[in-house]
Symmetry: C2
Subunit: 348 residues, 2 copies
DNA sequence: GGCGCGCGCTAAAGCGCTTTAGTGGCGCAT
DNA sequence: ATGCGCCACTAAAGCGCTTTAGCGCGCGCC
């Protein structure tokens, strides 16, 4: 009405202001729920916004020192392995799903190593490109939490050791999960248990190993852990290594679904039946695991849901809401399928 | 030297200008390779940039009507299925890998349907949030290419029918691939071939069906296609449907790796051996397919590489370089594994 | 009745960059 | 010597939003 809108151009705050007969400042205040605007005026402004179909220009917002409405995820693993691990894809999907309901975008970046990852954080912080980040694969003495605090970039860790740190963490109790898994195997009569683990430096891998050995000691089991880099090649090699000794394990636990599948292939090649000769359990459930023959016993957790929870936490942190130091994710639950059975030779 | 840099703040163009003893305009020109700056001055400016560690503020750049250094990918499929299809994860990894070398970010969004997808494009175009987008799963009479052209948002299609359209496409010749696959089966003596297809509305699904029937006619095979929504449930149901008739196929082709795995599970449950009773081939290769028992014969294409190629194409389009209407991706190649064999009853 | 105060709003500056419109100086042609 | 044009560079405006400072007005208070 008042202002002739330039055709083909997105309306700006100035257009809204003209349309509602107020100043741009008033519009900005109304949009950001700041005090100093009467309800009547606010309603008028919001009506104009709706009528003209105004949308914030993120760039302008970010430039003004405000939010970028973007959350970042930097992954320091070989790019090609990302597509293989269902965990990542599911996590990203969950993150995305929750973020998009708030019109917050997810920025994805894959880098070589942790040093490069820190560079990216620095750049993003400086460029105001992201409001916050999600950090994965925490390591022992990881420099990232402190660095992020130092550069003032809000962050949320996935995993960790369950203790409060400089940055809030979403934590699932791997320890309890592993204990449940080992108890399941012990109940089936297994005494010699192999474990194909993850990257030794990762906190969650280390926790699993610790839990495994704790439970083994308590239950009188003999366990052997072989660390891997999560790749199929190393998982296959680790499985062969476990099979080599005279006293080969009657059950093998794998830290990831992909590793478990690679392992079962090795077992099949070695002429060992699952679970007839060797029981197999995966610490990560996924479609892969369910499609295997036989379908694998696994710790089931809803990674998609975990992603949503992480996203929710990041959003809270970014918005300055109070967030507990440690947010509890559901503890994975044991799903028994056909790949675990009584120890060979035992009475059925 | 000249300018006292405010501590704790990222240097801006003004800082560079002061440091190099020129105007901010000169710095901007030098950084953007515009003419009108002597080599001497340009070198001095670039030295100052390096010395002060300057980095562009993307928000400011985008606000000035320039690039946002971001490419978008909107996927209109149920969020949870994303994590299941290795195709997506691999494609995203490849996209990401290529984009990040140019410091361009990838924005990911999962939406309900194509209408929501178009809304997102409109918003992004208006907000200058992304410089361009990647469009997947082209449908017959898809409204998206024209809409994108209309809103002036650069885009690249993945797939399509290989014919020039309003938007450049990266195209892999599914037709040739399917033909090769059918010829392989025919050579093994198969005459009755089942096909568990994809979503009928998708161009690439339709092309595969067409190719399958063309080849079948030429080679004198009897084929039955059952479309699915790419989910495991429908793939399993489709497999059962194919097995029901008296004249059950001696070979089944699956449009995706996940579908193929779900199908082999059904075959196993039905007591049918692979490839003893039924040969199985997947139209998508992946780690899943290789880990199956037996590993599946599949059309192998490097999806990661495809992602890189798509990213490269988007970057070219965004930068206004000339891009062919149709960029050829490598044609998938047949990888014969243990899941396809001679038709039962034939002399070996 | 004058003063101070707070409410509701506006003016204007500023975020960091790009871009348009110059401006000054130098070389060259006349 | 004068004028023209071009090259190298600068001044300043503008992108859309937020934010700080400030203004006018009505109210309550003594």
């Amino acid at each position: 009405m008042t202002a002739a809108r330039r055709p083909g151009r997105r309306p700006t705050i100035a257009d809204i202001a003209a349309h509602a007969g107020v100043s741009p400042t008033a519009v900005s205040f109304a949009l950001n729920d700041r005090p100093g605007i009467s309800d009547r005026t606010r309603d008028r402004i919001l009506a104009a916004v709706a009528e003209l179909g105004w949308r914030p220009n993120v760039a302008a917002r970010a430039l003004g020192g405000r939010r970028a409405d973007t959350v970042g995820l930097v992954v320091a693993r070989p790019a090609r392995t990302l597509g293989v691990e269902p965990f990542f894809a599911q996590l990203v999907s969950g993150l995305q799903a929750r973020l998009s309901t708030d019109l917050v975008a997810l920025q994805l970046l894959v880098v070589e190593d942790t040093a490069a990852e820190l560079d990216v954080y620095r750049r993003w912080a400086a460029e105001r490109r992201t409001d916050g980040v999600v950090v994965l694969d925490l390591e022992q003495d990881d420099p990232r939490p402190d660095a992020l605090v130092a550069m003032g970039l809000p962050a949320v860790l996935v995993g960790g050791d369950g203790r409060p740190g400089p940055v809030p963490a979403v934590f699932a109790d791997d320890h309890a999960a592993m204990t449940a898994l080992v108890e399941h195997l012990a109940a089936l009569g297994h005494v010699r248990v192999g474990h194909v683990g993850g990257i030794a430096g990762y906190v969650h891998s280390a926790r699993r190993v610790a839990a495994l050995h704790d439970a083994a000691e308590r239950l009188g089991l003999a366990v052997t852990t072989v660390p891997t880099d999560f790749s199929q090649d190393e998982a296959a090699a680790a499985t062969r290594a476990l099979l080599a000794p005279d006293e080969r394990p009657t059950a093998i636990v794998y830290d990831s679904d992909v590793a478990a599948l690679a392992g079962t292939t090795v077992l099949a090649e070695a002429g060992l039946g699952v679970p007839g000769d060797v029981s197999v359990a995966s610490f990560d459930d996924s479609q892969l695991v369910r499609l295997a023959h036989p379908p694998l016993t696994a710790m089931t957790r809803d990674t998609f849901e975990l992603g949503e929870l992480v996203a929710q936490t990041v959003l809270s942190v970014v918005r300055g809401h109070a967030v507990p130091d440690v947010v509890a994710a559901p503890t994975p639950a044991l799903t028994v399928r056909g790949s675990t059975g009584a120890v060979p030779g035992a009475a059925s």
